[in-house]
């Protein structure tokens, strides 16, 4: 098996390991990172496996340089990733904004842990959900996926690489210590069953002065380095050609809007939710690790004959507003379940509250897995 990119087979595998295997299966060639609990196993696996397939893992001096190095490598045409936890993301945020601004494909895995600050490293708390979208300064759009199992750590990582390449953007995997450290069955398919998307680049030999390499709502071809494109890549306000403009406000408006529109225009191709709420009066909305306890509670509720359904958010960003809205139109009561003090809750409430009553249910103790009994209690409480 040594040296194979895709380790086809059925495994009992840790989520973090599955994530690393997903990255390599998707074509990742370079990863950089800094050790941090509970994400370190991703770095360990990448360090072992990437050189076997001709790639490399770099252990950097900090998370700032980790994200910088992968952005640099992405500009040479490589598929790249980094994996960390909340404190690492906090350090990376400025350069994540840079990656957004100069439209750099890269995958950023956040195995979330007990926070704020150094918090509790081994606790699984989904406390960085909004940070992924709003952590770096300024208005921007991002793509973020929320895996709920080791299998999805593999599948979502492949998908994240494909989104990154297709839309020339950083893509987040918002995992947590539960899913990252969970061991479960993981099926790695045959290589030809794994879709691999590669970024568009300008036609070789194009006159460098004529390359519009930036700010296209339908994603400009990336004038990667080393091909004679003479790319001028600056995160300062620039035009389609990469030319800096620091004086014209309409250039700034264009810069901000085009970057956002690139994601928003294609949100229907990006957004994924898992719906299971036909004829339900109460819909449980969740994502990630929490959705496992939620599906257990929904199953028991149905056994009791209660009209309960679920909606699982797979892409937290772009936020699935329309999907929440159309669900709320059918439901009478919506219960939002998160392992935090309510991070996506305000967004869900804003989309749903016009049509249904919206409630929030955290676990009894933050960082604990929701007790399905507790969820059932809440369902009985709100049921019409």
């Amino acid at each position: 098996m040594k040296g194979k990119r895709v380790q086809t087979g059925k495994y009992f595998m840790m989520g973090n390991t599955a994530c690393a295997e997903g990255a390599i299966a998707a074509g990742c060639e370079l990863a950089a990172g800094y050790p941090i609990t509970p994400a370190t196993e991703i770095a360990n696996r990448l360090a072992e496996r990437l050189p076997q397939v001709g790639g490399v893992f770099l252990q950097m001096e900090d998370e700032i340089s980790s994200i910088a190095a992968i952005i640099g490598a992405s500009w040479t045409g490589k598929k790249v990733m980094t994996a960390t936890s909340g404190p690492g993301i906090s350090l990376m945020l400025e350069n994540i904004g840079f990656a957004v601004g100069v439209e750099t494909p890269c995958v950023i895995v956040n195995v979330q842990r007990g926070a704020p600050t150094t918090g509790m490293p081994t606790a699984g708390v989904a406390g960085d959900m909004v940070q992924a979208k709003r952590g770096s300064h300024g208005d921007y759009e991002i793509i973020a996926l929320c895996p709920s199992s080791p299998q999805e750590m593999f599948d979502h990582t492949v998908l994240a690489f494909n989104y990154a390449e297709k839309y020339r953007t950083p893509v987040f995997i918002l995992s947590d210590a539960f899913v990252g450290h969970m061991r479960e069955e993981v099926v790695i398919p045959d290589p030809d069953q794994i879709e691999a998307v590669y970024r568009k680049i300008p036609e070789p030999g194009t006159d460098p002065q004529k390359i519009k390499g930036f700010l296209d709502e339908d994603v400009a071809p990336m004038p990667i380095f080393g091909r004679g494109f003479k790319a001028h890549v600056t995160s300062s306000c620039h035009d389609e050609y990469g030319k800096r403009n620091l004086s014209d406000l309409s250039a700034l408006d264009h810069f901000v809007r085009m970057l956002s529109n690139k994601i928003l225009k294609h949100q229907h191709e990006i957004i994924q939710v898992e719906k299971n709420y036909q004829d339900a009066e109460v819909v449980l909305v969740s994502y990630g690790a929490v959705s496992r306890a939620v599906s257990m509670a929904a199953m028991r509720a149905k056994e009791e004959g209660l009209p309960v359904g679920t909606l699982r958010i797979i892409t937290a960003w772009p936020f699935p507003e329309e999907e929440i809205e159309s669900m709320a139109k059918k439901a009478k009561k919506v219960i939002v379940l998160e392992n935090n003090l309510g991070q996506l809750y305000p967004y869900i409430k804003a989309a749903a509250a016009h049509y249904a009553d919206v409630y929030f249910l955290p676990p009894r103790v933050l960082g604990e897995i929701h007790d399905p009994e507790n969820i059932l209690k809440k369902i009985r409480e709100v049921i019409p």
Binding site: G3, F225, H232
Partner: protein, 277 residues
């Protein structure tokens, strides 16, 4: 009459028509010395990827050089450059930035990549001040100097950046001033061909934010000062530390052979493949 064109004009990005440098700035001297080195080596700008950070000197390659240029966040160009070198090991990665960018906010990346001895050329334009933001004290500002953030004089010991990079393990370290453009070119030709982390510190004048505020005077006065203060490595070896306090030691400070990281990675990969070296 034929049009007069500067011999290095072909290296300038066609869309660039003006400079943002203040009159008397040292950026032009260094920019020209860099392009001369590339020209004299018969190399092309496409053989290079230029990386810069934030600050006046970071604007030398961005947008002036007609090449692949990555203009990064403050302090991080070397870290971005490492990633670029990993992706394009056959290209020359050159970082051009200032003392604040490389030695203050980016100090960690500077020392760690010197330690790694990654093949990369780092040109640090040291003007001992934050120019772009209006003359604040830098980690290189001489003790006691009045700046906009030290109105009663600085109370910090300054960095000797070249010595810092030497101590961190770079295989090539050199220092010149903008009074020495030909020496900069000669040194850069060596640095470009060096298999390892090559660091060139250029002491440069900022007549607007440094000269005016500290009383060092005009560009010409500052260049004259560099000429008077400069002392070669060889001559400096004969003097005591005290005698050297007001001097600028110029020349090649280190030029040694040691394992270079890109080559070491190739060896590691061969091991991982199971191939004998």
């Amino acid at each position: 009459m034929s049009e007069l064109v500067h011999p290095l004009h072909r290296f300038i990005r066609p869309s660039v028509t003006s400079t943002t440098n203040c009159p008397g700035c040292g950026n032009g001297i260094v920019a020209q010395a860099i392009l001369r080195a590339i020209d004299e080596l018969s190399m092309d700008l496409d053989d290079f990827i230029f990386v810069s950070g934030i600050g006046c000197s970071a604007w030398i390659p961005s947008p002036f050089f007609n090449a692949d240029v990555l203009h990064t966040t403050h302090g991080r160009p070397i870290a971005f450059g490492l990633g670029i070198k990993m992706g394009l090991p056959e290209k020359k990665v050159m970082v051009i930035s200032g003392d604040g960018d490389l030695a203050a906010i980016g100090g960690n990346h500077l020392i760690h990549n010197a330690r790694r001895n990654v093949e990369m050329i780092v040109v640090c334009l040291n003007n001992s001040i934050y120019g772009m933001t209006g003359g604040q004290a830098a980690p290189t500002t001489p003790m006691g100097l009045k700046t906009t953030t030290t109105p009663y004089g600085t109370f910090e010991n300054p960095f000797d950046i070249a010595h810092l990079v030497m101590a961190a393990g770079a295989s090539f370290v050199s220092r010149w001033t903008t009074y020495h453009p030909r020496q900069i070119t000669t040194t850069l030709k060596k640095a470009i061909q060096k298999k390892g982390f090559s660091f060139l510190e250029v002491i440069t004048q900022c007549p607007v934010q440094f000269g005016k505020k500290t009383g060092s005077g005009s560009s010409v006065q500052m260049l004259r000062e560099y000429k008077e203060k400069a002392i070669s490595v060889k001559e400096a070896a004969k003097l005591s530390e005290e005698e050297l306090q007001e001097r600028i030691v110029v020349g090649e400070l280190v030029n040694k052979e040691k394992p270079e990281m890109v080559e070491e990675i190739m060896k590691m990969k061969a091991k991982a493949y199971g191939v004998k070296e």
